[in-house]
Symmetry: C2
Subunit: 217 residues, 2 copies
DNA sequence: TAATATATTTAGACTCATCTAATTTAAAAA
DNA sequence: TTTTTAAATTAGATGAGTCTAAATATATTA
């Protein structure tokens, strides 16, 4: 139906729209796609003709409704396959991204719905990101950054805002896992370092950078 | 590593070598790949330079050892994913080919080995075709055609030589499933029609064409 | 507002995998 | 062995997705 390249552009535009606002710049897209700007211009022209995006010369690009549907489908595929890799094949949450980048392009509505059922209709992927349902509806999770909590407050670790392997590794090493209850014991005024109490009374001290990459609710 | 197209050519050459002998003709390849002959000539030149095939102008092609390894890897992927689709997702054996054609190109040795382990290291796919192991060794199954059996002989249904959806459908409808014990009750001399006794004393009569597409051992 | 810096697009070229039309090579038949 | 037929290759073109270098818009700052 659509080429892998088109799908990857759609996904990238979708994500940039989520984080950086409605209109996406050529250069931003070039950066995340790992290509040079003129390639993006060319691609956007082609995708504009196919009504996947609405593109105005030198004004940036937005997804059309059609493009948005495709993008959400890719996100759904990606996240469900990640669940499969972790839950069924025993991969770590830090190892599944690249494989899911391939699997997300496998076509077939029935396939992904069967996979969804097989996995028990999970609501989130191994990083806590929400999985769109078969109709493309994305469950809104109302999580906040750990760094927004005050001393004494308590919450459940539900997701990460930094998906890098190195950060996920760090969390593994620090023994902080998705679903853990975290209580803010103290916040160091000088450098915004957070001391957390985890299950079993274990205490961990994390930097502000880390507190800024942890989502809780 | 290799493009999907290259992988599909390698698989096609591999299968043609299995059935039609060592050297594969441009036209045969064009036919199974669904492209025109000049496209094949071009592709074989490129693949020859990459040492995936040994190609001699107007003399046909053979796989190199390197090409053969890649081809067997694809076959391994294809068949393991078929097992997954049938055993885990509940697909029918007649529905999985096209999806597996996509999944077979997913890269990652670790992935396919983990999938293999998850499935319990199956020896055959849902059609009874042998699955190469992690080292690329294909278990030799010594099966024969049902049509080679004589009256009174008995054997287990272990595979099909016709993989078409329509044939698989026919077998489903006739209630003949992989693993069934089949006994040749009688063979009609006039038109080589086979009357078979299945488990539970059920009798089924099948044409010579069907007897020629069923493998037993 | 004018000058400068940055972002974007045009122009022209490359690779991969394909096509059609024309030509050449190999095989089969006379 | 010559002729005819079939198979394979060359030649030239196309579309997708990319590139570099040059030109043009847009934004920023003086």
């Amino acid at each position: 139906m659509h080429s892998f390249t088109e799908e990857n552009y759609l996904k990238a535009i979708y994500k940039l729209q989520e984080t950086n606002g409605e209109v996406v710049a050529t250069s931003a897209l070039a950066q995340v796609m790992g290509v040079h700007a003129p390639s993006v211009t060319d691609m956007l022209k082609r995708m504009g003709q196919k009504k996947l995006v609405s593109y105005q010369k030198s004004k940036g690009v937005k997804l059309t409704e059609k493009g948005r549907q495709v993008a959400i489908g890719i996100v759904r595929n990606h996240r469900l396959w990640e669940v499969f890799l972790v839950e069924k094949l025993g991969y770590g949450w830090d190892e599944v991204h690249d494989i899911a980048e391939q699997l997300e392009h496998i076509q077939g509505e029935e396939l992904i719905n069967k996979l969804d059922a097989y996995l028990g209709f999970p609501k989130t992927d191994p990083h806590g990101d929400p999985i769109p349902d078969a109709k493309g509806v994305l469950p809104k999770l109302k999580s906040v950054l750990l760094s927004s909590l005050k001393e004494g407050e308590e919450a459940t670790f539900t997701g990460v805002s930094d998906h890098s392997t190195s950060f996920l590794h760090y969390l593994d090493k620090a023994g902080i896992a998705l679903g853990d209850m975290l209580k803010v014991k103290s916040i160091e005024q000088y450098d915004q370092t957070y001391t957390l109490a985890l299950k079993g009374k274990r205490e961990v001290t994390v930097s502000h950078k880390v507190a800024n990459s942890i989502l809780v609710s």
